[in-house]
Symmetry: C2
Subunit: 458 residues, 2 copies
């Protein structure tokens, strides 16, 4: 018997892993050999034309299966929901998922379970935007301030941001929006590139890629630091020589340091004029970041890709601990929580330069920054989206860069759909690539058997 | 071929769930119907006499499977390890687990993945204590300060606690230890009870259990608050009438409030002289707790059962945000991280009153408090372990209460072993209890079919 109202009929999950560790793409002081991965989900519907919602959590390899299990645990909250109700109020699902009193114990609002919630919420916004026939940035920028402000969970926020303040910021954001949209469509959104700066690259490759970045129109590059100070001095010197004095060089320690180390190490690199020091210490350490900021000024302090939720961001802003807020599209509880984070940043006048790279993070986060430009902060001054040039070919609507800027996506949705052939090939462990790879590894292990193993060698 | 060195041969996991929601045991303002559960693991060895290590994460029902998947993800780090090496330096495994660069992305050091690490680390300490033939509290209290200080990961800690300071605190802790051990063995460790105070209980049951608590020798009880202010006023009045003016009544909001609500609500209950307000707001909100503390004094502020790691505890202490630190034995990265937390608390002179209850948390945490008394803070002044009187019968070495105090456990290990018959009965979904329960639910659903369901009713 056909249903009269379109509904979510299934939530299907996929463990997708790309073997990026073979090339040392993505290598940094804390993550020497990542296999960039996605715990991926598809919301299937019985709406006409096979409408689907796509979402994912980015991980770097092992544990992607745990993340898939966490998304699976949310299925019962989603399947059977009316599309009309869901798209009219994605926040209602967010409240149900975050408010599930038993699952909440596994966070609350942090780590594996919270990222799973974010992936599902993002997939709902993908659905909502496709239904409206708009890219997500446009759906958000077109929305009424009162409705958008109602999409935010103000629990634990009201000492820094109330609903009334959110509405006021969004109303102000409407002023001059048409001119900004023309600018966005004509020129795109500024970006910086991390592609030259991975720790695993040789100085020659670093220099070559840094020059290429400037030739491609980027005005900022980023280098990974924190493993060895002498290496960092040498690499920063090479990078500065390659790009000249006018291109900004950000540095990124990926949480490597204690507070005193962060201050000392950054100070030791000051002669190369770093623009910001990113993730100098634990993403949980609000007071630590405030101390680092006081110690390294005028170098700016940036963090956010591992900041677990709006509550830590709120405190980073309250404590004056950061100069640059690096939200991540797939670490927190989805678009709704990122709305709160964008509004907090606007309230505290701190620029947002989102984290991207990974698998599909560039594709997602461009929508949030473009919405911010059109309807929240109203400016691109001091703002850039990170860009890393890998894995885009696996997406159906990959980002399009022009002159070092993100062009505004025009396809309806959240640009989250992975190409079916990529999913088939890189599903772990049964996809074509991994099946062959694991069979090869097993064969190699067999070939060396007899030379003694760990169990019997003692 | 037999191995010459005993090793870990397997890490076996179990999804154990107790149907506590049927009785509203454990009901509070955020957790109305928990099914107290454990993601349980056994480290098997080829040592003589079938030596095993037991550990677990406590959850409250749904998602226990996700937690089991996270423990499974750690297996490759553990199986094959030498028992001698592991027991000589459990911290080495901790560094490997926390340092796994790919799994780290799923935290770092928080939520599902970090609790899984804690469960494995705790199981190793259970093994180590059994091998020494000592209860864990004694193993820790007997350890050399230098060795114990070496068990701590100082990353992100050194602005509050260095290794040298840790050694100094532990050396000072040795003074007078023999007399304290005699006192501990004779009188046990003080406790307070939460058994009367669950939100789901009637006023009559609350009054009866509060009187019983006083008769049992407890000098503090705890009530859940935060769902409805009028109810809270009525329940607190009844509790105060039942226990008289000299028994302390703590109140616990389970993260229900924003900062301003926490101050207003606690102030509205001040006439009943609450001893502390527990979890007034988000466990992530260091600055929020500091504001609440300033607003509700002289009522004390307590938190910790959901504090994710040493980095948040460090900041709660640095910011002067809490009067009472409530560590949890199974939320953070195991004994090693709790060593750091006990030392931080000692450094900042904040009393530790651990969170307990749940499944087996009383059994675990008594060891940490007794060690603290003997060898860290050296006092029980202002210190109590929470006690909740349920589910102890499922443990092989359950806690033994006498006159409102925990008696010191004498069996070797960490008191973590669940009774095999309980595990068999309450394994989800295939154990005897759940198989019957789920079959009954399916039958009931069949019986009501035809009355219309969600899919077709619209």
């Amino acid at each position: 018997m056909p249903t009269s109202v379109p509904r979510i009929t299934a939530l299907d999950t996929y463990d997708i892993r790309f073997p990026t560790s073979r090339e040392l793409d993505g290598s940094d002081a804390m993550n020497p050999d990542p296999d960039y991965s996605a715990a991926y989900l598809v919301l299937r519907t019985d709406a006409q034309e096979g409408l689907e919602g796509h979402g994912f959590t980015f991980t770097i390899g092992r544990g992607n299966d745990v993340q898939v299990a966490a998304i699976d645990a949310l299925r019962a909250h989603v399947v059977g929901r009316s599309l009309d109700e869901l798209c009219a109020d994605p926040g209602s699902l967010g409240r149900d998922l975050i408010g599930d009193s038993q699952l909440r114990w596994l966070g609350p609002e942090k780590g594996v379970m919270h990222m799973a919630i974010g992936a599902v919420i993002n997939a709902v916004w993908d659905l909502a935007a496709k239904r409206e026939g708009k890219p997500l940035w446009q759906l958000l920028a077109d929305a009424e301030p009162e409705w958008l402000a109602g999409q935010i969970d103000y629990r634990y926020l009201t000492d820094a941001l109330t609903r009334e303040e959110a509405v006021a910021i969004l109303r102000r954001g409407k002023e001059g929006r048409a001119a900004r949209e023309l600018d966005l469509l004509a020129r795109g959104y500024p970006a910086y590139t991390t592609s030259p700066g991975w720790l695993g690259y040789s100085d020659e490759k670093l220099t070559r890629l840094a020059r290429q970045a400037v030739a491609d129109g980027f005005t900022q590059i980023k280098l990974k630091v924190g493993a060895d100070l002498d290496d960092d001095i040498r690499r920063l010197r090479a990078a500065r020589a390659a790009v000249g004095p006018d291109v900004r060089i950000a540095i990124d320690a990926n949480q490597r340091w204690n507070v005193d180390e962060a201050v000392a190490w950054t100070t030791a690199l000051a002669e190369f004029d770093p623009y910001w020091i990113e993730e100098p210490t634990s993403p949980d350490d609000v007071l630590g970041h405030a101390a680092v900021r006081a110690g390294v000024a005028p170098v700016k302090v940036a963090t956010g890709e591992h900041v677990q939720n709006r509550i830590i961001f709120k405190q980073l802003l309250q404590a004056g601990a950061i100069d640059v807020l690096q939200l991540d599209a797939a670490r927190v509880g989805g678009v709704n929580e990122n709305l709160a984070i964008l509004l907090l940043a606007a309230k505290f006048s701190v620029p947002v330069c989102p984290h991207a790279g990974g698998v599909g993070l560039c594709e997602l986060v461009q929508h949030l920054s473009m919405f911010d430009y059109l309807a929240v902060s109203g400016t691109v001054e001091g703002r850039m989206i990170e860009f890393v040039d890998h894995l885009h070919q696996h997406f159906v609507d990959p980002v399009v860069m022009r002159d070092g800027r993100y062009t505004a996506p025009r396809a309806p949705g959240f640009s989250a759909r992975m190409a079916p052939e990529s999913m088939a090939r890189f599903t772990y462990p049964d996809g074509e690539f991994w099946a062959a790879d694991l069979a090869g590894a097993a064969e190699a292990a067999d070939a060396t058997a007899g030379a003694g193993d760990r169990e019997t060698a003692a």
